[in-house]
């Protein structure tokens, strides 16, 4: 990455990496805070998550500006061009992760008076979240270290989260059938679970980007898929 004859180019690329790392840190925090707010029924924390989202958006914008400027100024080739395209793509995934966390936080506010039907459900959500978080952390480290092997580990493990999401869905259905008064809250929880699963998909995207940056071509072969919940996202109210 470093050792260009034009040192200022190294500085540009270094700045881009730093901004992506900063965004990554924020996105990780948004994930854990949003789910914490959900399981603890904590409206203040939910509002904090919502308030942090514009910072992530602003960082993405900054990365886009820096990238276009660097492309215009340096006309990068080969690995250098992929560095910049990679930063743009990772920033895009992180911004989406921020949106998904914000969406969970909004559902926390919309369902403030509701209680969880079971502890098991909470543990399920927390478990899934910690898995997504560890994958995101690993892939962001792989991005920073340009570690292809580590990125591929993340890429191959997406089906685990998908399977957890499917099992959470089954459980939620049971509660809805048991007592119709559970239905509204359970549907919100389904969306939250789906949001967490989507965050995992973005981690997979980042793994693909790391592969592209290092190898210069996309990963071939289908994505591992353990998810059977085809569930389109509806915007949260509030």
């Amino acid at each position: 990455m470093s050792d260009h004859i034009a040192k200022a180019f190294d500085v540009d690329l270094h700045d881009l990496n730093r901004m992506v790392a900063e965004m990554g840190g924020l996105a990780e925090k948004e994930i854990s805070d949003s789910v914490q707010a959900l399981v603890r029924r904590d409206s203040d924390l939910a509002r904090k998550v919502i308030a942090t989202d514009p910072t992530i958006d602003a960082l993405q914008l900054e990365i886009e500006e820096k990238s276009t400027l660097t492309i215009a100024r340096r006309q990068p080739m080969a690995v250098d061009l992929r560095e910049i395209v990679g930063a743009l793509r990772v920033a895009n995934d992180l911004e989406r992760i921020g949106d998904l966390a914000k969406n969970i936080a909004k559902r926390v506010l919309a369902t403030a008076s509701e209680e969880f039907p079971s502890q098991k459900l909470i543990r399920g959500l927390e478990h899934m979240t910690s898995l997504v978080l560890s994958r995101l952390k690993q892939v962001l480290d792989a991005y920073a270290a340009r570690d292809l092997a580590s990125a591929l580990v993340v890429w191959k493990s997406d089906d685990e989260i998908d399977a957890m999401c499917t099992s959470l869905f089954r459980e939620l259905f049971t509660y809805m059938l048991e007592d119709p008064r559970n239905i509204t809250f359970c549907i919100h929880l389904m969306f939250c679970a789906k949001n967490i699963e989507r965050m995992g998909d973005h981690a997979t995207n980042i793994a693909e980007t790391v592969h592209y940056m290092i190898e210069g071509h996309p990963i071939t072969g289908p994505r591992p898929k353990g998810d059977t919940t085809t569930f389109e996202m509806a915007p949260a109210r509030g």
Binding site: D3, H4, I5, A6, F9, R74, Q75, P76, M77, A78, V79, D80, L81, E215, G216, H217
Partner: protein, 268 residues
């Protein structure tokens, strides 16, 4: 029936990637200096091939081998083989003047003759006896100026001196002069390095049109220019042809570390 179809397909494929110039183990010495080392390459017809590489790596030296311009340098010694359409161009019986009509050259600095615009272009066809009368010659001159994208700009001053044109116009005049003798191959050694971006864009556009009928080889120091105009790119370093292939491959995923370092600006 099937066999016939197959044969046709093979012929088409061969025509599409027809090789115009073949170089094998070309070495050039200037006195004691070994400037070009064992260069072998196939240059396809109807395509633009770009030669890139750091200053002094031998790009111009190799370009000059293709029309035997190195013959004019007393200390230069060329070995190896170069064929155009299967014909050995270093064959003793070959007429070098004829060869240079088949292989035209455009230089870094536009170098029009100190004559009129018209005479600059008419000179070649005249000495090669390619135009029987004034009407034929007019046709060749105007046709060449048109193909070089210059005619509209100079049609009212065909009798003014060529040296009075702008740099970009002079370069297109030199291209018109090169194509007037009906060459098959056009060699260009940094043809745009003295031109502004607009004049450069015009020459690049021209190359793209000319490649339909000619085989073009261009030496350029601009990676972006090579990426824009060429279909194949060859990277030279210290007299060695390091890597050669489809342009998009060389500029996105080069195989050799030296190529990568050069195109990304990492050479010390």
């Amino acid at each position: 029936m099937d066999a016939l179809v197959d044969t046709e397909r093979n012929l088409t494929a061969a025509a599409a990637s027809q090789v115009k110039v073949v170089a094998r183990n070309v070495n050039v010495h200037y006195g004691d200096k070994h400037a070009l080392k064992d260069v072998s390459i196939d240059i396809p017809a109807n395509a633009v091939t770009a030669f890139i590489g750091p200053s002094g790596c031998g790009k111009s030296t190799f370009l000059r081998c293709i029309n035997r311009m190195n013959d004019t340098i007393p200390i230069a010694r060329v070995t190896g083989a170069i064929e155009i359409d299967g014909q050995d161009i270093y064959d003793r019986r070959l007429d070098v003047v004829q060869l240079r009509a088949r292989v035209g050259m455009v230089f870094q600095k536009p170098n029009p003759f100190p004559k009129s615009v018209y005479e600059n272009v008419a000179y070649g066809p005249r000495i090669h006896g390619m135009a029987g009368n004034k009407a034929d010659l007019d046709e060749v001159v105007i046709g060449s100026l048109k193909r070089a994208g210059l005619f509209e700009e100079v049609k009212d001053r065909l009798n003014d001196p060529g040296t009075g044109l702008s740099g970009g116009q002079q370069q297109r005049l030199c291209i018109a002069r090169a194509i007037a003798v009906g060459p098959e191959v056009i060699l260009m050694d940094e043809p745009c390095s003295a031109l502004d971006p607009i004049a450069t864009a015009k020459i690049e556009e021209l190359m793209d049109e000319l490649r339909e009928n000619f085989t073009i080889v261009i030496v350029t120091h601009s990676m972006q220019q090579a990426a824009r105009v060429s279909q194949r790119t060859a990277f030279f370093h210290l007299g060695v042809l390091v890597e050669e292939g489809p342009t998009e491959k060389i500029f996105t995923t080069p195989q050799d570390r030296r190529t990568q370092d050069y195109i990304t600006g990492r050479f010390g």
